[in-house]
Structures are given as structure tokens and as C-alpha cells.
């Protein structure tokens, strides 16, 4: 109970904390930004496609949801680490190292939020009336065209939901990030990692509470923006 009294107003933030905030925002932006186009394609394939391996793709997309995040992070290390097949190739070919870098944190977040984004978009794509797509066909729109001009805009709520969920979930992503990218202040120490550190430190509850509050503010800011942009208002 005493705890409630110990949480103080989070401002001003310390330098490290500020850095964690900026880093979190950058990481979330990259995770959502790179994840979204891919999520759209996968969602479309799952919603409309009928191809062998469709079910496998579906299961694969859900993988990060069904495994403990720590395992996801560990699998990422196995695949994208310097000795992993993709990681070795990236390092040899482009000199890119993902582990311990901001990009790695973004990758981990991106993988974790991917199933959420795909589901949201897929739901909305499935709700689009296929008769409208038929109408577009008779007007000469081939499938990419149709997707971009009809399906996607009509699935707008799903895309928005994907962005909102991806962004908020990114701000809370912990296990996969710390396992894959470690907890390096200024490079991979996002807010959740800072909160976790504080929580595990003796007497750190107050700091953790402060930082959690910052995290909530950031996420709520995103929600406000989303609510403001929601298609219902635009209509």
C-alpha cells in the first residue's frame, strides 16, 4: 500500500531515462514501420489466398505469440545471431550486426508485434465486401491495383488497429528484446528494460513506477492520435 505514495511525478526525466524514451519511440517506429507492409502482405495472403502452405504461414506468424518471449529472443539469436544462418549472411554480406544494436531491438519488437498486426489487418480485409473488388475488376483493376485502391483503404480500421497495437505493444516488449539485444543503456535499453532493471533493484519500485507512468503516457499519446485519425472521424 505504501507503494502508492512513493510513486512521484515522472518529470523531469534523468538523462538515461530520456534516452530510454527516445530509444523506445525510435524502436517502436521502426518495428511498426518495417513490420506493417509485410504484415499487410501476409494478412492479404491469409485472408484471400488459397495456396499450399497457407496454414504453415499462419502458424509461423503466430509463433511469437505462442512462445514465451524469452524463447522467441533465443530463437532470434539462433537465426539472426552471428552464427545463425541469416545473421552470418548479413554479417558477411553487409557487415550488419543485429544483436546488441538498436536495429536488433527493433527486429525483436517487430517480430513480437507481427502476429497482432497481421490479425488486425486480416480481420478487416476479410470484412471487405468482395463484390466491391469484383466491381473494381470489371473496371480494369488488376490485383495489386485492387488491393491498393479498394481492399486496403476499406480495411483502414484494421491497418489503424495494427499500428496502434503494434506501437503500444512495442512500448511494452521486454523478454525478446532483452534476450536478443541485451540491456545496453542508450543502445538497446528501451523503457521496458529500464523499468525491469529498476524493479529488480532494491528500492527501485518508485523509479519503476515513474517509468511505467512515462510508458503509459507515451502509449496513451499514441491512442489519442489513433482515435483522432480513426476512419470513423474521417468519414
Amino acid at each position: 500500500m505504501g507503494f502508492y505514495r512513493t510513486v512521484t511525478w515522472p518529470w523531469p526525466l534523468s538523462g538515461d531515462e530520456q534516452e530510454a524514451v527516445y530509444l523506445s519511440l525510435r524502436v517502436a517506429a521502426r518495428a511498426v514501420g518495417f513490420g506493417l507492409p509485410l504484415a499487410m502482405i501476409v494478412a492479404l495472403l491469409l485472408a484471400r489466398g488459397r495456396f499450399p502452405g497457407r496454414f504453415l504461414l499462419n502458424a509461423l506468424v503466430h509463433l511469437p505469440l505462442m512462445l514465451p518471449p524469452v524463447v522467441t529472443g533465443w530463437l532470434l539469436l539462433l537465426v539472426f545471431g552471428v552464427e545463425g544462418p541469416v545473421g552470418a549472411w548479413l554479417a558477411a554480406r553487409f557487415g550488419v550486426h543485429l544483436a546488441f544494436t538498436e536495429s536488433g531491438a527493433a527486429l525483436a519488437c517487430g517480430v513480437m508485434i507481427f502476429p497482432l498486426m497481421v490479425r488486425a489487418i486480416r480481420l478487416s480485409v476479410e470484412a471487405v465486401d468482395p463484390r466491391l473488388e469484383q466491381a473494381a475488376r470489371t473496371l480494369g483493376a488488376h490485383w495489386v491495383d485492387r488491393f491498393l485502391t479498394i481492399t486496403l483503404p476499406l480495411a483502414g480500421p484494421g491497418v489503424l488497429a495494427a499500428v496502434v497495437m503494434g506501437y503500444t505493444a512495442s512500448l511494452g516488449e521486454f523478454g525478446a528484446v532483452i534476450t536478443f539485444a541485451a540491456n545496453i543503456p542508450g543502445q538497446t535499453q528501451t523503457l521496458p528494460l529500464a523499468i525491469f532493471s529498476a524493479l529488480e533493484t532494491q528500492g527501485g519500485e518508485a523509479v519503476a513506477g515513474r517509468l511505467a507512468l512515462v510508458s503509459v503516457f507515451l502509449a496513451v499519446g499514441g491512442l489519442v492520435l489513433a482515435e483522432f485519425l480513426s476512419p470513423r472521424r474521417l468519414k
Binding site: R131, A135, A136, R137, T138, L139, H142, D145
Partner: protein
């Protein structure tokens, strides 16, 4: 020439239809609700894949092309405007994809009377407004064949009367063949060159409009609004009497004065129930047209109270419906010469092109 044949089964309903019709021209699919008009059109647009299907337009087989490359414009029975686009963007959708065509954006907008709606979203339109936009959208996609599924049934008479001539003009000026589904005989006779009668998934009869409408052996003749169609040419105007003379073969038919200049081809529709038959020439009567004809065939309707009389005139064939009583009084029988009395007001005329 447009040749189409189709076989398909839905759960419980089977469709077997085939027809061919000259192009360009308007081919009307005429039949009751559930006859199979929409299914046939869906197949022609490539949206339905029937068990068997052939479609050939001017020698080009189209049945294998995907809908987006088939060049078939479609005005859907259920509108299907894009809800997330303004009216303007809906109209432009096909315009940008179909390539520049003979139909101009501004012309189509003006004709359909949708200039004031361009900025609106479809859900802010009334039912009729929506349908007009759908017609515009299909027209502007510059199709090689236009399918129209009951495009006017949501429109009021005035708007219909405005749009119908434009559709007729499309046929002749742009030579886009049009397949037109309808259950309004009026629309069909005003517009069609070829009439395809469909019932319960079968083609009952198909042929040129003027022939089909004068036959007493088709279910068409039994309808309240049955009527014959004559083709003619504007001969001269009589402004002082407010009349125009149309020459149909050997006959003159008078109609209330029209604007088309002499020499214009017109289509005259005379409802069967408005044709009066006489054996003596009446006097002091408001009827303007008194045409010599002879009876080709007489048939009775199902109830046996009306007689359907197929007439041969100098310039075509007409249908008259009189009471059985009158048919007996006048002793109508094949070969009998009669006078066909037709009010000038009874003649609907439509410019051919």
C-alpha cells in the same frame, strides 16, 4: 455478332441459355425475377464461372480472359459504388484504368445530372443518385461491351426518359454493344435491337425486336403493356397543327410535333391496347391516324375475354388488343382488311440515332 452460351447449376436451380445477336446494338435480356439475367451477366463479366461457357464478341472469344482484361463494363443491379471514394473518384476509377475513350467525363456528368454530387460519398446519395453514378462509372471505363443490370429500376420516369436516349446514342455513336437486363417492357422496346426472352433459366425466344413484339404466340403479347414497334423516318412538320408526319413504309403516321429534323430515323411504339380497329371510317373524332391494315392472326388471351390481333400495315407489323366482343362484332379473321385507329398521343416515338 455477340454469341453467348452457358450451362450452370446452382443448388436447386439450373440454367441453360444461349443466344446470338448482331452488334453493335442493344440486346435486351427480358424476363421475370429469378429468370437468370444477373447470372448470365455475371458470367459475361467473368465474375461467375459457369460449368460451361462460351462468349464471342465480333469473332473474338472472351470467355478465357480475366474480368479485368475483358473490357466489359458492368452496371450492377446492386450499385456497388466504392464507399470510401467521392462520387468523382468513383467515376474516375474506370476512366483512369480503361484508357481514354469516346465518353468524356464532363459529358457523362452533365447527362446523368450528377454534377452537384461529385464531392459526396455514396452513402450520402439517394437510391436513384447512386444508380446514376454507377452508370457513369461503367460508361467512363470505355468498355468494348457494356452490361447493364436493371440500371433504371431505381430511377423515376423523368430521369429514365432522360437517360434512355443517351444509352441509345451510345449504341449508335460509339458502337458499344450493350446487354441490358430489364423487366420493363417499355425500356426494352425503346432501346433494344435484339430481344432475348428468358424464363426460369431458359431462353424462350430471341430475335429482332420488331418481329418479336408483333408475334401473338409469345407470352409478351399477353402482357398489359404489349405493343408493336414500327421503324420510320421523319417526313415533315406541321407547326400550325402541332403535328409531325412520320413515313413508315407506305404509311404516314402522325405524332405530336417533335424536334427531330426531317430525315431522322425514329422508332414508334404503339401499345396494343391503344389500337382501335374499325371497319368504317369514323368522323368528328380526336383520333388522328387512320391506317389501312389487314389482319394476320388472331389469338385469344388466357381468360378468353381479349383478342390479340396481329396486323400488317404498309410499313410494318402492329399488335392490337380488343375485347372478344369487339372482335366478333367486327368479324376479325386473318386476311380481313381493317382500319387501325391510333391517337397521335398513343404513339411513343424515339429517335433511332
Amino acid at each position: 455478332m455477340l454469341r453467348v452460351s452457358l450451362e450452370h447449376r446452382f443448388a436447386g436451380v439450373s440454367l441453360t441459355m444461349a443466344f446470338e445477336a448482331p452488334t453493335p446494338g442493344v440486346i435486351a435480356l427480358f424476363g421475370p425475377s429469378g429468370a437468370g439475367k444477373t447470372s448470365l451477366m455475371n458470367a459475361m463479366a467473368g465474375l461467375l464461372r459457369p460449368h460451361r461457357f462460351r462468349m464471342e464478341l465480333d469473332g473474338v472469344p472472351l470467355e478465357r480472359r480475366r474480368p479485368e482484361y475483358r473490357g466489359v463494363g458492368y452496371v450492377f443491379q446492386d450499385g456497388r459504388l466504392f464507399p470510401h471514394m467521392s462520387v468523382r473518384d468513383n467515376l474516375r476509377y474506370g476512366l483512369r484504368r480503361g484508357g481514354a475513350g469516346p465518353v468524356k467525363f464532363d459529358d457523362a456528368v452533365a447527362l446523368l445530372g450528377i454534377g452537384a454530387l461529385l464531392g459526396r460519398r455514396p452513402r450520402h446519395l439517394s437510391g436513384g443518385e447512386r444508380q446514376r453514378v454507377a452508370i457513369g462509372r461503367a460508361l467512363l471505363s470505355n468498355p468494348r461491351l457494356l452490361l447493364m443490370d436493371e440500371p433504371l429500376s431505381a430511377l423515376d420516369q423523368a430521369r429514365r426518359d432522360e437517360i434512355l436516349p443517351y444509352l441509345a446514342r451510345l449504341r449508335s455513336v460509339l458502337s458499344i454493344p450493350i446487354v441490358y437486363a430489364s423487366h420493363s417492357l417499355d425500356e426494352v422496346t425503346r432501346l433494344a435491337d435484339t430481344l432475348v426472352l428468358i424464363e426460369a433459366g431458359r431462353v424462350v425466344a430471341a430475335g429482332p425486336l420488331t418481329e418479336m413484339t408483333a408475334r401473338v404466340d409469345l407470352p409478351l403479347a399477353l402482357r398489359e403493356d404489349a405493343g408493336g414497334v414500327l421503324r420510320g423516318v421523319v417526313n415533315s412538320h406541321l407547326p400550325e397543327r402541332g403535328l409531325t408526319a412520320i413515313s413508315c413504309g407506305a404509311d404516314f403516321v402522325w405524332v405530336p410535333q417533335i424536334t427531330a429534323p426531317p430525315g431522322t430515323g425514329v422508332r414508334l411504339r404503339v401499345p396494343a391496347r391503344e389500337v382501335i380497329l374499325a371497319v368504317e371510317s369514323p368522323r368528328g373524332i380526336s383520333v388522328t391516324n387512320i391506317l389501312q391494315a389487314h389482319v394476320v392472326a388472331v389469338a385469344e388471351d388466357a381468360a378468353g375475354h381479349a383478342a390479340l390481333v396481329s396486323l400488317e400495315l404498309g410499313g410494318g407489323a402492329l399488335l392490337a388488343r380488343v375485347t372478344r366482343d369487339a372482335a366478333e362484332r367486327l368479324r376479325l379473321a386473318p386476311g380481313r382488311p381493317v382500319l387501325a385507329l391510333i391517337k397521335a398521343m398513343s404513339v411513343d416515338w424515339h429517335q433511332e440515332d
